[in-house]
């Protein structure tokens, strides 16, 4: 795809792109991965603490404790996002704060806060899933395909 794009450009901008690629700052992959590992692991560790508390105090099982844990984590995310702390964590940790469910919560909540100036219906209501919508759409659609294939195999294939 990149080559196709290049062909349509005048020679001067092709030269510029080559120059730009040369000068591009190499992302410190290992350092970023270590940061992502530590922060992402830490968030999951907190999640484990919360879900253990739910199993211990509220009669959830290992499999069902994920649900209230998710809700609790998103609640914590709301506070961190509102006070502007989550942004700083995100700059430090990259994927470490984006991949856990807190990143999903942050995407929803920050969109909601950001667009409140446009009004609650068109601003907050219309934009709340602006960033996180793709996750829901592709999650639901792929889950639909997977579950459909599996159900057909089970029902007619005798799996």
């Amino acid at each position: 795809m990149a080559d196709k794009k290049k062909k349509n450009l005048p020679p001067s901008s092709q030269e510029y792109q080559a120059f730009q690629q040369q000068r591009e700052v190499k992302r410190p992959l290992l350092k970023n991965c270590i940061k992502a590992f530590l922060v992402g692991g830490f968030i999951c560790f907190i999640g484990q603490l919360i879900s253990t508390a739910y199993i211990y105090f509220f009669d959830f099982t290992e499999q069902t404790a994920g649900n209230p844990t998710t809700a609790t984590l998103i609640f914590i995310t709301m506070l961190l996002t509102g006070f502007g702390i989550y942004d700083r964590i995100g700059q430090f940790a990259g994927a470490g704060s984006a991949v856990p469910v807190t990143g999903f919560g942050n995407a929803v909540i920050s969109a909601a806060i950001e667009h409140r100036t446009e009004g609650f219906v068109l601003g907050v209501g219309g934009n709340i899933f602006k960033l996180a919508g793709s996750v829901i759409v592709f999650g639901v659609f792929s889950a639909f395909i997977v579950a459909l294939i599996k159900t057909i195999l089970i029902q007619w294939g005798g799996l």
């Binding site: 999951c44 484990q48 998103i74 919560g105 806060i113």
Partner: protein, 116 residues
Amino acid sequence: MIFFWAFVVGGIICVIGQIMFDVFKLTPGHTLSILVVVGAILDGFGLYEPLIDFAGAGATVPITSFGNSLVHGAMAEAEKHGLVGVITGMFEVTSSGISAAIIFGMIGALIFKPKG
């Protein structure tokens, strides 16, 4: 021990996300969407459940578990009602993530003012 594995497995999934950011130069939106689809497919092969048993929150907290629980809800309902259950059961298990996001998003918008 499960705390240790939660940390390690959750960390590894985040490293995979970071590699997708840095090596393949994907946007966060693309990365998260791919991870959700991967989670759904893994559950289709029955591989995600053992991971949850092994790593606890290390597997349920990353966004991959969203795809997993979507498939789970759909499959549970499909066993009862056949094909139509795939659609009606989709959000059965994973409702808390989405409803919590909407509720706390709304509360956040009510309480906090945008910064910067």
